[in-house]
Amino acid sequence: MSLKVENLAKQYGRTAALNGVSLQAAKGEFLALLGPSGSGKTTLLRAIAGLEQPDTGTVEFEGEDFLKQTPRERRVGLVFQHYALFRHMTVEKNVAYGLNVRPGHSRPPKAEVKDRVAKLLELVQLDGLEKRYPAQLSGGQRQRVALARALAIEPRMLLLDEPFGALDAKVRKDLRRQLRAIHERAGVTTIFVTHDQDEAMDLADRVVVLNGGRIEQIGSPGELASAPASAFVFEFLGDCARLKGRVDGSCIRFDGFEAPIVNAGRATGEAEALFRPWETELDLEGKPGVPVTVHDILAKGAVLRAECRSDDGRLFEAEFSRDHLPPAARPGGRASLRPRRVFVF
């Protein structure tokens, strides 16, 4: 293991930002810290970078006690959400900064610095913009400068704090692809913070889901999707609806119908089932289900989404591929709604 975080806790006033967080990252792994704002993900990243001092717990990196080291000694590359580029320096100077500030004996010669900066700018596809100032760049370009600057010091670990948070969707997607390519080439252990589950699932080898200063689940994107550890994880990873029922073995019974439980094992009794819109079916032929009124049918990319409201006003959604929508379904019509499979936590 290259990074080992044990039992990290950090308190701000009466709020616990981190509450006993432990995780590990293998060398070269790409880890995402995912959670809503206030979940502690940024605090965790900053504690690893050395920008925050945790109250208790340990951070070890390749056997070294990170907490005893200054951010400088840790030599981690940090990319800030708002870039934090040096506004009075050119792109080139920004990227070279970390090399130029090294003490005399370990500072690379000028030619080598120039060479490395050129290579890095090529890597982030910014060659040709060496002499520009940050104010003359677009947001995406600035973020790539920040990335190159962080990589220039040959960091032992790359940390990114919501790196794409301030960018528009198209640029985000481009940068995501570039980041993955850079990670593959550089092979450096990378941790990045995000509140966007798509981004986390798309990029990371493993995702750490945080909530209220605690880890809800650590797992690969696939594990998270197939076996969410808690209702929070399930809800955070995508849209879902809830329905009360009674657990009976590997099934849950509702009013006149039942559905299989994916994560079976709950004792018999009252429980709430969670399910996805794309695992929901609409029936127009009078079979049992939750009686609903179809309000609207929206095209959402390749799928159609039917928005339904139960008689007591709860909102349910059902998604179908274009050819699977029941032909009779239309706004204003009545239907009964049934989950195909559910999770119970």
């Binding site: 308190q11 701000y12 006033g13 009466r14 709020t15 930002a17 704002s37 206030g38 502690g40 940024t42 605090t43 050395g50 920008l51 925050e52 001092q53 200054t70 951010p71 959400q81």
Partner: protein, 284 residues
């Protein structure tokens, strides 16, 4: 990042940046040396006859009258500066005209011009024989040697404080907010009242307080034009001098301490409001 803004328990938030100790230490040391110890000497001075002596010195009707003149006229001058300063700032920021930079430059003149020079110059202008005084004299308007003269001098020293407080805020004022108001059909008066003024309020308040505090203490530029008539145009700093001329250090310090306390409270209040607004993210 929301975490960093939550309530603090320690005296200082730990930070990765170095140098708080030396920088804060030096600042505090310097403040002590140049501001606090000298002021302590002032504050310690008036009590040789106990609180009674202090009270006697500051409750004298002439002292009270002078404080009234000083604080009253300063208030009026600061109020006038808020209005005129806002107009001047608006003109400087929003309109382009020849000589704009020059006009912008001379706003700071009262910061830099020696106060005594300003006082002499203002007296020369507003005395009945002066350029402006000569025009006003036939109308029966007296400026020099009346409280109006004091007011003019205080307006002079206070104007840059208002302009320089408001200017950056107005410069940074988000065009979208104003345009939004415009597209929502707000009249220009409504835009002023509803959108622009509230945004400028903290800066205006700061400018007002600084101009006020400066005017209260002002001596050099006021003394020549004031007339210095007891109960009418005598300012509190002059009374400090008067007490000193009579070798009454305790009395002089008593008035000084009182003025200092009043200014300090005003500044403290404004800085508290200011910090509150900064924390809230409003333009300050």
């Amino acid at each position: 990042m929301a975490d960093a803004k939550t309530r603090r328990r320690r005296w200082r938030e730990p930070s990765v940046l170095p140098g708080f100790g030396p920088a804060f230490g030096f600042t505090l040391f310097y403040l002590c040396l140049i501001v606090l110890i000298p002021l302590a000497a002032l504050i310690a001075r008036p009590w040789e006859h106990g609180f009674g002596g202090f009270w006697h010195a500051v409750s004298n009707p002439r002292v009270l009258a002078a404080l009234k003149v000083s604080f009253g006229v300063s208030l009026l001058a600061a109020a006038a500066n808020v209005v005129t300063g806002l107009i001047v700032t608006w003109v400087l920021v929003r309109y382009d005209f020849p000589g704009r930079r020059l006009a912008d430059a001379i706003v700071d003149l009262p910061f830099a011009l020696p106060t005594a020079v300003a006082g002499i110059a203002l007296t020369a202008i507003y005395a009945p024989t002066g350029w402006v005084g000569g025009l006003l004299a036939p109308l029966g308007i007296k400026v020099a040697y009346t409280p109006v003269g004091i007011w003019i001098a205080m307006v002079f020293v206070g104007l840059p404080f208002v302009v320089r407080s408001v200017q950056p805020v107005l410069q940074d004022f988000d065009a979208e907010v104003e345009e939004a108001a415009l597209t929502l059909g707000a009249s220009s008066a409504q835009r002023w009242r509803g959108v622009i003024l509230p945004a400028l309020l903290p800066a205006l308040l700061t400018g007002f307080t600084l101009a006020f505090a400066r005017a209260v203490g002002e001596y050099g530029s006021v003394i020549f034009i004031a007339g210095n008539m007891p109960f009418k145009s005598e300012i509190a700093p002059l009374l400090i001098i008067t007490k000193l001329e009579q070798f009454d250090y305790a009395g002089a310090a008593a008035i000084g301490v009182l003025m200092l306390a009043m200014s300090f409270v005003a500044l403290l209040a404004i800085n508290a409001i200011q910090l509150f607004l900064v924390r809230r993210g409003a333009p300050a």
